[in-house]
Symmetry: C2
Subunit: 353 residues, 2 copies
């Protein structure tokens, strides 16, 4: 059956096998909130315990980090990258991550490889209390090379309406805490690939705290900042707004956490730039200002707090980072990196001193 | 700024321009449920009016229909395909579609082209009362050819827990209503491309009710069955379960709407097969049984109803199709296509007489 279709590059049987092995990868654990999981037309998730729920959703990919994974033949970590990236995005609204759906498209559907990727997705979901509710695996000859693929996903979370982040609460004099990045996260990989020849990926990474190769550092998993943020909040520090530093760097992302009439003045020199980020910035001869737009330069996530909350928040963040070391791959520690001030009319929202 | 990055094939400025033009494509209409739309880290949607909400989510792509769109230089319809496909998926759980997020990845980000695609997404969302809550546009040189791209998305809907479809309600003697397809929908395009040379896409489609080219028929928009299903329910007919006929055809999709101990015995000869579907089936020399697994063969969506509800449901479906003609591109009309019977142990779930 379906020989003609297989000759055209699509194997329906392989698709069915992949879904079976996803079920195994996701594991037998029962999540009582999931009424219909992988394999139905749609996933069904019981929303309970909210008075006045706001649903918060983020859709993302991992960029050309997929090419690094393919080159190194290590597929599990990009699934984690993707889930963490999306959790961080909904975290910026103060939402709890509820469920995730992944989209995996390949030139030729290889169930073993697809399962490796979905395993990483499932692992990151499980670790963060997120239900893997469904997804799509597509075999698309001619869109992707035979060994090519892309990975994207959508995470849905929820927050009580009166606990939703409201950037208008941010005021002049508030402080910005930067949480450390541990590498490129999911951004800057096209530049990294252009600057660092594959032949050097097996080399030792210069400046690394622990011995590792350039390839290891390129694949370092994008951290999930939710445990750190929840620890800060549990300490009693009220976080007014948050920014996930992704494509566009701190210049494009921090302004989303600020009202229009305010700007952030940052001192970033005290931050540790992860060695792999420094390697790319140096190889690309990026100007200092430019590097902050193209790469995360050591800041993976920002929080804005009132001055009286900042010290308590900072200590809680550092303790959380030590328990669950973000810097395992060479990042720094949480720091107060700047202050909010009135924005000059027509001036920039982010000023780096 | 970002010259090095641009040389590596990524244009951050183009990404920012694309987001601006999405906002325009989505339009100025205010949807009061949307508290944070396109441009934030995550979209925020106020869920109101549910007693005991179950969230229902589907993630999908449009397969290699993207290559047809690229070949013909017509990009708006695939956005509609995608949204309709996802609405139909959550409809199978009886859920109301609430919001959508799209993932668009391109080899080279061309804001004008990206905007055409997102316009189609936005149009289909607006027409169906769905909020376009966010999305991701990724520029991924080397994953996609410079002019290559992929499109996927996730739709989230909701339904009261006690109105969720429960396939265990289906019993022997229930009837299956088939709703007409109008073409390949979003399935079978790799086969179609292998069988129908591009040089023939400008030819008149044989057997078409209205003059159209093969290319027109290949790009026919995947219909949204929600208006039809809602009309059937409004007529008083209770729909026990539903199946969206997509990849794997009626053989793989109808069983998802049945309990394990039951099978559907179908008579499909009374159905009109859309001319483009027939053209592909003939060109590929598909055996009859095989064709029902690879293509939709005229059935886009199935509903299972008790016999006493079937006639009323059928009439409502036909009236809805006439108001909003699914068959505009050559499909047939709704028909009772079969009956539910006990499944033979180890026998198939779908039997085509």
């Amino acid at each position: 059956m379906t020989d003609a279709y297989r000759a055209a590059g699509v194997d329906i049987d392989a698709a069915a096998r992949a879904v079976d092995s996803y079920r195994q990868a996701v594991g037998p654990e029962r999540d009582e909130r999931v009424l219909q999981g992988i394999g139905g037309f749609a996933g069904c998730f019981a929303l309970r315990g909210y008075r006045d729920a706001v649903l918060v959703a983020s859709c993302d990919g991992v960029g050309t980090k997929v090419l690094i994974a393919a080159q190194l033949g290590r597929y599990e970590s990009i699934g984690k990258d993707l889930v963490h990236h999306c959790i961080n995005d909904v975290l910026c609204s103060n939402a709890e991550a509820l469920f995730f759906l992944d989209y995996l498209a390949m030139g030729k559907l290889t169930p073993a490889l697809a399962t490796e990727i979905v395993k990483g997705v499932a692992h990151a979901c499980r670790q963060n209390g997120v239900a893997l509710l469904g997804g799509e695996t597509a075999e698309m000859p001619d869109v992707y090379a035979e060994t090519g693929f892309d990975l994207a996903g959508t995470l849905v979370g929820a927050v009580e309406r009166d606990e939703l982040v409201d950037v208008s609460q941010v005021g002049a004099g508030d402080l910005v805490i930067g949480l450390p990045s541990n590498g490129l996260h999911t951004n800057g990989y096209s530049l990294a690939r252009a600057m660092l020849p594959v032949s050097e990926w097996g080399d030792a990474l210069p400046g690394a705290a622990h011995p590792m190769t350039v390839g290891d550092a390129l694949l370092a998993v994008h951290p999930c900042y939710a445990p750190c943020i929840r620890a800060m909040q549990a300490s009693g520090a009220r976080i007014k707004s948050m920014a996930h530093i992704t494509g566009g760097g701190i210049f494009e992302n921090l302004p989303r956490a600020l009202p229009d009439h305010l700007a952030a003045r940052l001192q970033l020199d005290r931050l540790t730039v992860p060695p792999i980020v420094q390697l790319v910035a140096t190889a690309a001869h990026l100007h200092r200002q430019e590097s902050y737009r193209v790469l995360n330069m050591g800041v993976g996530f920002c929080c804005v707090l009132a001055p009286q909350d900042a010290q308590r928040g900072l200590e809680a963040a550092r303790q959380a980072c030590e328990r669950d070391p973000i810097e395992a791959v060479g990042g720094g520690r949480a720091e107060i990196i700047g202050e909010i001030e009135p924005r000059h009319p027509c001036g920039p929202s982010v000023i780096i001193d």
